[in-house]
Symmetry: C2
Subunit: 186 residues, 2 copies
């Protein structure tokens, strides 16, 4: 695997859960872990169901599409409970998906919240993404990629922290453009 | 000068000159030419006069302020003809300002446009920024910094192109969040 492997990192922008009906999803196109080549974005509904379709469209219309080798997601949901169907995302883009999670999720709590919000169908999406496995200092859920290959991608892109640069930068952008300034480091 | 020198790169987001009254200005906080530590933003009026005050406030409220050693601007105007008073920006932040320009500006044309728009007072701001001088593959206007020191900063931060990374990335973000995807490379 080349050090200049092309990957897309995806995270959502900040939003006000009481006020905002929509928020932005940011994509960063990276060569390896140091060279940010492009930024893309799309708008999704807070707690909605459109994230999968919107992210697929954002990727498939991108001029970087043909170069891409993997998609990194910062967790499986954007804009609150707008849960991404990672199987569909992988199928419709033809790309492997690596969901990166900082702390092991409390699935019981998440499922209870989704049930309470009458979003039971999203529980299936979370279950289908597979059990998070420890990799380096994070947890990952893998679709369409072997653990060995995913680990190599993680090693290449984690140049400045234990979070892959494409995700770390998508996160900083998503915060910086909505909150005035990004907080934290990843 | 250390390779991890802290600098802020500033550029504006895209906007529709017929439709948009306001646009965003993006700031990227970099350590050297590789490590993006933070993203900040502020909103300004298209063709307005608030860019200087808004950018000063954005910088002075930033948690990165105390570490900053210089401000890089991608040209002297943001949001169309919202010309930045670089002398005031430097004074009110206590930081040197390096305006980076890709091609030598056609000042006659710019001044004629400003006169036509009854924005004569902005001509003075442009003149006060000083004559652009060639440095590496770009032109710069310097405030509060020697050419030698500015060149060293340019050399450190131009890691991926002849444009300093903080500006190149601010530009990619400004395009990516408004146009759906950034275009070009810098």
């Amino acid at each position: 695997m080349k050090h200049e492997i092309r990957v897309l990192g995806i995270d959502d922008a900040s939003f006000d859960k009481f006020m905002d009906r929509r928020t932005m999803v940011i994509g960063t196109f990276f060569r390896g872990g140091n060279f940010l080549d492009g930024v893309m974005s799309t708008n999704i509904t807070v707690d909605g169901t459109d994230s999968t379709a919107k992210i697929i469209a954002m990727i498939n219309r991108s001029r970087f599409k043909s170069q891409l080798q993997a998609i990194f997601l910062d967790g499986i949901a954007v804009g609150g409970f707008n849960v991404i169907d990672v199987g569909k995302l992988s199928r419709k883009t033809g790309l492997p998906v690596i969901v990166v999670i900082r702390r092991y999720p409390d699935f019981r709590k998440i499922k209870a919240a989704l049930a309470r919000l009458r979003m039971q169908e999203k529980i299936r999406l979370i279950e289908n993404a597979g059990k998070p496995v420890k990799m380096n200092r994070v947890y990952v859920q893998l679709t369409g990629i072997s653990p060995e290959r995913a680990k190599r991608m993680l090693d290449i892109t984690c140049t400045h922290s234990y979070i892959p640069e494409p995700i770390r930068i998508a996160h900083l952008i998503g915060q910086g453009i909505t909150k005035g300034e990004s907080k934290g480091n990843a």
